[in-house]
């Protein structure tokens, strides 16, 4: 990547990346609306979806301000193509069954929780403020997904099998979460953010502890899939965006 990345450009990249992660993860969870395994879980998972979409609004608004070209949170969410999205591949993966959804959310939560904790010390006032607000929500997300990991992993033979399948399937997207990009290096240098690699140990310790309690085994993956932050996505993001963006694209500028 470009070595002459300015701090402001790096800040924009970072805010956009945070917004994209939370928006895409939130949108995926929102697909459970009315489809949850029980009424209570239907409400729970869509509460989490709303939390994440709310956080995405904060990050994308900040990104729009930093960019200074007059793009609003809605412009950034609804008028960009998949190649312009910088979310992790993990976030865009389809829901699958309930266990698969929980695995994706749990892996993301472990990373998200550590990152937000670290961002509390950011020298950028708005980043620290968004992190502080988000952390309360994400603390609950992590608690919720951890409990479901354990409940289903250490559940019936069928639930255990499904959780292990989900883990085996999603694990290859985990490595990307702890990759340092040029953006991260510029921001870490200026104490505006931290290197993702610095979060890995704490996040992995938590993941390992939960997997142990859930009687699940950690998959052995040699090659992690990456590319999301550069806009190189799996086949699923385009379809997700087509659904998510269909109304604003069909009726530009409409409000209700």
């Amino acid at each position: 990547m470009d070595n002459s990345l300015s701090p402001n450009q790096a800040l924009f990249n970072f805010a956009l990346h945070m917004g994209d992660n939370t928006l895409i993860a939130g949108h995926r969870l929102s697909e459970w609306t009315s489809q949850g395994p029980a009424l209570e879980q239907d409400i729970a998972i869509t509460n989490i979806a709303l939390d994440l979409v709310g956080q995405a609004r904060s990050w994308l608004s900040l990104a729009g301000e930093l960019e200074g070209k007059g793009r609003s949170e809605d412009d950034l969410a609804y008028l960009r193509s998949d190649r312009e999205y910088t979310n992790f591949l993990l976030c865009e993966q389809p829901n699958g069954d309930w266990g698969m959804t929980i695995v994706r959310q749990f892996l993301f939560d472990c990373y998200h929780f550590e990152l937000l904790n670290a961002l509390l010390d950011s020298k950028h006032e708005q980043i620290a403020a968004i992190a502080a607000k988000s952390l309360k929500e994400v603390t609950y997300h992590l608690r919720y997904s951890s409990e479901w990991m354990i409940r289903l992993g250490d559940g019936t033979p069928e639930s255990h099998k499904r959780m292990q399948n989900g883990l085996d399937e999603r694990w290859r997207f985990l490595g990307e979460l702890f990759e340092d990009t040029e953006t991260d290096k510029v921001l870490a240098e200026a104490e505006l953010s931290v290197l993702p690699s610095s979060l890995e140990e704490a996040a992995m310790n938590r993941i390992e502890a939960v997997l142990k309690e859930a009687t699940l085994s950690q998959p052995e993956v040699k090659h992690f899939q990456t590319g999301g932050r550069k806009g190189i996505h799996s086949e699923y993001l385009g379809h997700l965006l087509a659904v998510m963006q269909s109304v604003p694209r069909a009726y530009p500028g409409q409000s209700w």
Binding site: P37, A38, L39, E40, Q41, I43, A44, N47, Y140, R143, Y144, E147, R151
Partner: protein, 94 residues
């Protein structure tokens, strides 16, 4: 899945100093899940600061058929209401 889960009654303390009030019920596999479900289903609009859950089967209810014997006798004992005392003027907040 849901059919196997027992029903729990949910009680919320709306703010410190007030008592918990029954607000409804839900399904959950165990107490831990019941607390989380109660949080997700019943406190989405800042309804409370504390939650109690109790499995419905642990509540003993009075029988509707006993209502006459249990509650009717109180109806004609109005002297149990403290409305017949003459309060001194100095007592303000009663």
């Amino acid at each position: 899945m849901k059919n196997n889960w027992p029903i729990w009654e949910v009680f919320i303390r709306s703010k410190n100093g007030l008592s918990h009030k029954h607000v409804g019920s839900l399904h959950a596999a165990d107490a831990e899940m019941a607390i989380e479900n109660a949080r997700d289903v019943y406190t989405r609009r800042t309804e409370g600061v504390s939650l109690w859950v109790v499995e419905s089967k642990n509540i003993t209810a009075s029988a509707p058929t006993d209502a006459d014997a249990l509650f009717e006798p109180a109806a004609n004992k109005i002297y149990r209401h403290p409305t017949f005392y003459n309060l001194p003027d100095e007592v303000k907040h009663m």
